[in-house]
């Protein structure tokens, strides 16, 4: 496993902060349009620069730097050999993709006219650019997929990885996700109603990356149950469907730890009510309150938090759920024997 977070890149250091619910101080990201500042959690620049050993010189956006760093850490921690990497697939999950280059490229078109955008920026605007850089960094040759969506895309990526292993398309699968910040996404999420002023409970957007390596057989933690998820229509509908999903997952196992997707939006209530009904004895972790909301990346950070929690408990089951802003629900259970 590997992650790059506003609190650092070391698994145990960041895990300690999550366990103690210690959130770093946000910094302000200012909109050049209206001058409004939004509190966000940023990754120190030095933590995400990991490209010195790339086989080809490539122009990188921040999201790609972060993704490569987390994936490289995950591959290193799994002690993957070059031979093993040849039999490895990659599923990358993104929510907003390379927004900084996309916004800069489009600004050039608006300001200088169509056809005047920089050819250096455009390739990094595609959603799968980070996956391509990870593949280049690790020397992957098998299936490389990018899934895009709300936070549930992180768990869709895990499920896709499990499927690739199940059918034998790969012997290992790197699941990665990353998120970068830009003032335009803060404008967008602010207008969506996801950002508000009460810092004690507000959703604070963040950047970062996370990666895990799945194998078919492992003596450590495993994905013991995964729900394919569903789409919901309203917040009430979300609670009903989440309830059903949790019941279905709990049919297969009891839960010692619940890793919540709560981030300070009104959608938290649906999950809170479901947890109260079904998980009264489980320890509840809310890593987004420490690491911020980085959408699909956050979801993979929830998975890593679940694994670390079970490591600490030396066994048990951890439930990871996500209620995405774009009306997608998903969940899984991690088990350590």
């Amino acid at each position: 496993m590997g992650w790059v977070t506003p609190l650092g890149r070391d698994l145990s250091t960041v895990w300690k902060a999550i366990s103690k619910n210690e959130r770093p101080d946000p910094v302000l990201l200012k909109s050049p349009i209206n001058g409004l500042s939004v509190p966000v959690l940023r990754v120190p620049e030095s933590l995400g620069r990991d490209t010195a050993t790339l086989p080809l010189l490539r122009r990188y956006s921040t999201i790609s730097h972060l993704a490569v760093a987390a994936a490289a850490d995950a591959a290193a921690s799994a002690r993957m050999t070059p031979e093993a990497l040849k039999r490895t697939a990659l599923v990358f999950a993104a929510s907003d993709g390379g927004v900084v280059y996309t916004r800069r490229f489009y600004a050039e078109i608006v300001e200088r006219g169509e056809g005047a955008g920089s050819p250096l920026l455009f390739p990094e605007t595609v959603y799968n650019a980070p996956a391509s850089h990870i593949a280049a960094r690790l020397g992957l040759e098998r299936e490389v997929l990018t899934l895009v969506g709300d936070p549930a895309a992180g768990l869709s990526a895990v499920q896709t990885g499990c499927e690739l292993l199940a059918v034998g398309e790969a012997d290992f699968c790197v699941i990665a996700a990353a998120q970068e910040l830009d003032w335009i996404t803060c404008e967008a999420y602010g207008r969506w109603g996801l950002i508000h002023d009460n810092l004690n409970s507000a959703c604070v957007f963040s950047e970062g990356a996370a990666a895990i390596v799945l194998t078919r057989e492992s003596d450590g933690c495993r994905v013991s149950a995964i729900h394919p998820g569903c789409s919901y229509v309203t917040e009430e509908d979300a609670e009903e469907r989440l309830d059903t999903m949790i019941k279905e997952l709990l049919n297969r196992s009891g839960v010692d730890v619940a890793v919540s997707c709560a981030s300070g939006t009104r959608l938290d209530l649906a999950e809170k009510n479901c947890f109260a009904r079904h998980l009264s004895t489980a320890k509840v972790l809310a890593p987004k309150f420490v690491l911020g909301e980085s959408l699909a990346c956050s979801t993979l950070q929830q998975v890593i938090s679940g694994v670390l929690a079970l490591d600490e408990l030396r066994g048990g089951n951890a439930l990871v759920t996500t209620t995405g802003y774009s009306r997608q629900l998903a969940g899984l259970v991690l088990t350590r024997d």
């Binding site: 608006v110 455009f122 959603y127 996956a131 690739l164 999420y189 394919p228 789409s231």
Partner: protein, 389 residues
């Protein structure tokens, strides 16, 4: 251990492209090798080198509205998905998918463009706000789903121009792994100014006609559209029997000149079906018309299926990016059913010793075809389609 690739039936499909809104006009336009590429009418292109693209007919809005009146206010991408989804589901009534897998490259980019312009122009907040939610790539899919009361989870694949074929492959993978029994899969992309300008500034677009595999080819023309397939285990005459993908990390925007990436994807598709390369009756090539793509793909075809007839239907539709793989899989289904090979128009002088179906269709009894899609980031995918005799 590798799980054998099962035969996945196509029990319904629908298609919207510059060659037609729905299958009947598409079949006729393919049969007559019509050129669906014309001057761009959706946004200004005066300062671009390229000025043409394949655009879906302006009647789209009305056709979509005839299915659901509220779609009049949707984006063109959502309208395309709606029409293709309606056509697919009409062929297979009561098809309730366990999952929906759609490929796209640009998602809601046109709304992103409008959002940015609203912000910098100081437009009222509400005019920008309503664009935010619909920007998310699964939103147009979910809008279309709502008309059919579908609440399945949605997976959006964004593997650049291979997305549509990857989506079909991922859907098959889900059925193969037993995590789904029925999947609605395909791809969509609507033309957007940012993407059009992007290909233009890379000098990948042509100012002339798009001439895939021609010695005088000068680049691609962009396109748009959507195609949707009902996939399940059944007894349809059409089926997907193989899928292969590979990563080529040579360069972010250029394929390895040897064609190793495309070759690996095609080879894996054939291996997954345990099929002999010599048994391939037709290849619907990725064939963008760019010098580098076509030479790389021709090398791969020559190495694996040197005698198979080849055409790039992008010569007629333009390159629909994340929708291309799904649209071209639909064209392959038409070739299998209607017994003709779609043509590669604007073709003059060959550069490669491959059998290009030049300029007019070729009548042929076809049983097994490959559809190729390759994209930025070294994403390569191939799907094997067959007609049961």
């Amino acid at each position: 251990m590798r799980v054998a690739f099962p035969t996945i039936d196509i029990t319904g499909f629908g298609c919207v492209s510059p060659l037609g809104i729905g299958l009947p006009p598409t079949v006729e336009n393919l049969r007559h090798s019509r050129d669906g590429i014309g001057p761009v009418r959706l946004f200004p292109v005066e300062k671009c080198l390229a000025k043409t693209a394949g655009q879906v007919d302006e009647g789209l809005r009305d056709v979509a509205a005839s299915i659901a009146a509220r779609s009049k206010r949707w984006t063109r991408a959502a309208q395309m998905i709606l029409v293709a989804m309606a056509e697919a589901l009409a062929a297979k009534p009561r098809f309730v998918p366990d999952c929906i897998v759609m490929g796209t490259t640009s998602g809601g980019m046109s709304l992103g463009e409008q959002f940015y312009r609203s912000l910098v122009s100081g437009s009222p907040a509400w005019s920008a706000t309503r664009k935010v939610r619909a920007y998310v790539p699964q939103e147009p899919v979910m809008q279309a789903m709502s008309i059919f009361h579908l609440t399945s989870p949605v997976r959006i694949v964004s593997n650049a121009c291979a997305s549509g074929t990857n989506a079909l492959g991922l859907a098959c993978q889900m059925i193969r792994a037993g995590t789904a029994r029925r999947v609605l899969a395909g791809g969509y992309d609507a033309l957007s100014q940012l993407v059009f300008s992007g290909f233009d500034c890379l000098r990948a677009s042509t100012a002339e006609k798009c001439r895939p595999f021609d010695a005088g080819r000068t680049g691609l023309a962009l396109g748009e559209g959507a195609a949707v397939f009902c996939l399940e285990k059944g007894d349809s005459d059409l089926c997907i029997t193989g899928y292969g993908s590979s990563a080529d990390t040579h360069h972010l925007t250029q394929p390895h000149p040897s064609g190793c990436g495309p070759l690996n994807a095609m080879r894996r598709a054939l291996e997954s079906a345990d099929a002999d390369p010599a048994s391939v009756d037709y290849i619907n090539a990725h064939g963008t018309g760019t010098p580098l793509n076509d030479s790389s793909e021709a090398n791969a075809i020559l190495a694996l299926c040197p005698n198979a007839p080849v055409s790039s239907t992008k010569s007629m539709t333009g390159h629909a990016l994340g929708a291309a793989g799904a649209i071209e899989a639909a064209f392959c289904c038409i070739a299998l059913r209607e017994e003709f090979l779609p043509s590669n128009i604007n073709f003059g002088k060959s550069e490669f010793p491959i059998d290009v179906v030049a300029n007019t269709i070729r009548p042929a009894t076809v049983h097994r075809v490959i559809s190729n899609s390759f994209g930025f980031g070294g994403a390569n995918a191939a799907v094997l389609l067959e007609r049961r005799s």
